[in-house]
């Protein structure tokens, strides 16, 4: 329980640290959003009007005060570019991104378990070799390039799947496959290694001695224990997953957090960028927290505080 509270407190510290630093980084170094909003012939009066509208004519301290006051009430301000509350823009985008990430995770875990299992049981077999090739490819080919290749093959040449956007479940197939390939190698490796290690444990021999079929031993006993390290890897992969989904969104024109962040970047839309960063970081920290807690639930050694 104490562990739980300290983890939650830590997460809050991280989120507020990121929030504050993003705010000041943008205020002190970025260009003038009014100048980007107005056309190049805009007179000073027009620019002043924009600044008043955006609230960037106030001092940084005043802006920070009203920003923090808004954040506490769950209001992230209005987007400069879209003229509507940032939360209305960010939350649907976040939902899409999470959908994409979740699909990718599902695909990669499924494949990791299937391929990892098969290659651990028969290290010299065809599957083991093939998954080795997949792992190297997934690690060395940049995600966006894989995305472009898939678009080229499945959308342009074969015409089976749409190349971008989000109107239908079909739109999710290519981006989530792309994303899955980028996190698959580490998961597959870890799973294969831990399956191999678990197979040598005494309890496996005992289970065999009791007359359990090797399938039963594997799926009921070995796989459950072998999945623990996988959970850690998945926790670590969250950053890769979110970062990767941003890239995949750009390739596939997918309406998610990443696309929104790039729009915010080009328009110097402070509230939008802040909103995206804060929401993404919070989601992220929250997911990590859940993975950590899940780990303690699944692993009694951690739960009971026994070290080693």
């Amino acid at each position: 329980m104490r562990y739980f509270f300290s983890r939650v407190a830590q997460s809050l510290v991280i989120i507020s640290g990121i929030t504050v630093s993003v705010f000041f980084m943008l205020r002190f170094t970025a260009g003038d959003p009014a100048r980007i909003r107005g056309n190049i012939y805009a007179t000073n009066e027009v620019l002043e009007e924009y600044r008043r509208q955006f609230g960037t004519d106030r001092t940084v301290a005043e802006q920070f005060y009203s920003f923090i006051k808004g954040v506490i009430r769950g209001n992230l301000g209005d987007s400069f570019r879209y003229q509507q509350p940032v939360t209305e823009l960010v939350l649907p985008a976040l939902r899409n991104t999470m959908l994409l990430g979740f699909m990718a995770l599902l695909i990669s875990i499924t494949f990791a378990i299937i391929l990892g299992t098969m290659s651990a049981r028969n290290p010299n077999g065809l599957v083991a070799r093939a998954s080795g090739v997949i792992a190297v490819f997934g690690q060395s080919a940049p995600l966006f390039w894989v995305g472009l290749l898939l678009i080229n093959i499945f959308a342009l040449k074969l015409g089976w799947l749409p190349s971008g956007g989000l109107t239908d479940w079909k739109n999710l197939v290519l981006p989530s496959m792309t994303l899955a390939l980028s996190i698959l190698p580490s998961q597959m490796r870890v799973l294969a290694a831990s399956v191999k290690a678990e197979m040598d444990e005494d309890y496996v021999r005992t289970a065999h001695a009791f007359g359990l079929s090797s399938k039963k031993v594997y799926f009921i006993h070995v796989l459950r224990n072998a999945c623990l390290p996988l959970l850690t890897v998945i926790g670590n992969d969250m950053g890769v997953l979110l970062g990767g989904s941003i890239v995949a969104e750009v390739v596939f024109n997918f309406p998610g957090i990443g696309t929104l962040a790039l729009v915010g970047l080009n328009a110097r839309d402070y509230p939008l960028l802040q909103g995206v960063t804060i929401v993404a970081a919070s989601t992220f920290v929250l997911i990590n927290l859940i993975v950590d807690l899940l780990y303690t639930v699944m692993n009694p050694r951690v739960r009971l505080g026994i070290s080693k």
Partner: protein
């Protein structure tokens, strides 16, 4: 014995391939045609056209020359990013392995935050706060890459701390700083050499990704990621614009990963033959450079 040969062949061929890529990147631009020379009449020629082995881009620029001089840009940027991130990562790893609880706690959290936060988002914020340029790109790469190196180094430092030679040094009166730098420091060198190629490969992917998002190397300077960005619009008419730079990246990264794997297998093998087969801290190297 056969395994040993196989391990060495991996190291040999991947090193050879890295060496060839480096030589091409260094000397190629002197021989290939100008990568910036436009030739609108011969635009979008497919590969194996006359005079253009990899074809041309929408402005009629020779893809082969662009790949070769892009290799130079990409490799230099990645090399600097690798050196920077390894330096910062090693220092932070040493610090977080220190005995002082507060310092260790602080740097641990810093590593966690860095690992936790998606670097692309960070890159977008930083680029919007400054402008996209090569120094900023290198800074971003260091920022994104140091934490994974720090994590590996920390795990090694922590496994060295309880050993007798460290205790002996501290009994003799060596300060914590001296122990970290003079005593534990040298034990990190093999690990650093093993992470370096993996880190370099991660940096190449990162350079390409950032340039692809328009946050890295800016046109007209050719870089592999930038070429992919330019080719994206012509995906349906000219597949080679995106396919060829991607293959260049994949081959380079695969060779670098091969070198890293080969080195790590070799080091582990040497160690296990010598005395201590139970120590497998190298296993933590796996996947460390996956960013």
């Amino acid at each position: 014995m056969r395994d040993l040969i196989r391990e060495s062949t991996l190291l040999f061929f991947s090193s050879l391939s890295v060496a060839i890529i480096c030589i091409v990147a260094i000397f190629g631009p002197f021989f290939a045609p100008d990568p910036l020379e436009q030739d609108i009449i011969n635009s979008l020629l497919p590969p194996f056209s006359q005079g253009h082995i990899f074809g041309t881009d929408p402005l009629g620029r020779d893809i082969f020359s662009r790949i070769v001089s892009g290799a130079r840009v990409s490799l230099i940027v990645s090399l600097l990013g690798m050196i920077g991130s390894l330096t910062v990562g090693t220092i932070m790893g040493l610090v977080s392995g220190a005995r002082n609880q507060w310092i260790a706690w602080g740097s641990d959290r810093l590593i966690d935050i860095q690992m936790a936060f998606p670097y692309i988002l960070l890159a977008i914020v930083i680029v919007s706060a400054t402008t996209a340029s090569i120094p900023v790109l290198i800074f971003l790469m260091v920022l994104a890459g140091w934490a994974s190196a720090a994590r590996v180094i920390r795990s090694i430092v922590l496994s060295e701390q309880p050993k007798d030679y460290v205790k002996a040094a501290s009994l003799v009166g060596a300060t914590q700083k001296r122990i970290l730098v003079k005593y534990i420091g040298p034990t990190l060198i093999p690990a650093i050499f093993t992470i370096a190629p993996l880190q370099a490969s991660a940096m190449i992917v990162m350079e390409a990704t950032l340039s692809f998002l328009g946050l890295g190397v800016q046109p007209p300077t050719p870089s592999w990621g930038g070429m992919l960005l330019e080719g994206k619009i012509y995906l349906s008419e000219a597949w080679w614009l995106t396919t060829i730079p991607g293959i260049a990246i994949a081959i380079t990264c695969a060779s670098l990963i091969g070198v890293g794997e080969g080195l790590s297998i070799k080091l582990r093998g040497d160690r296990s033959r010598r005395i201590d087969p139970s120590k497998t801290e190298n296993s933590s190297l796996k996947g460390s450079a996956k960013l």
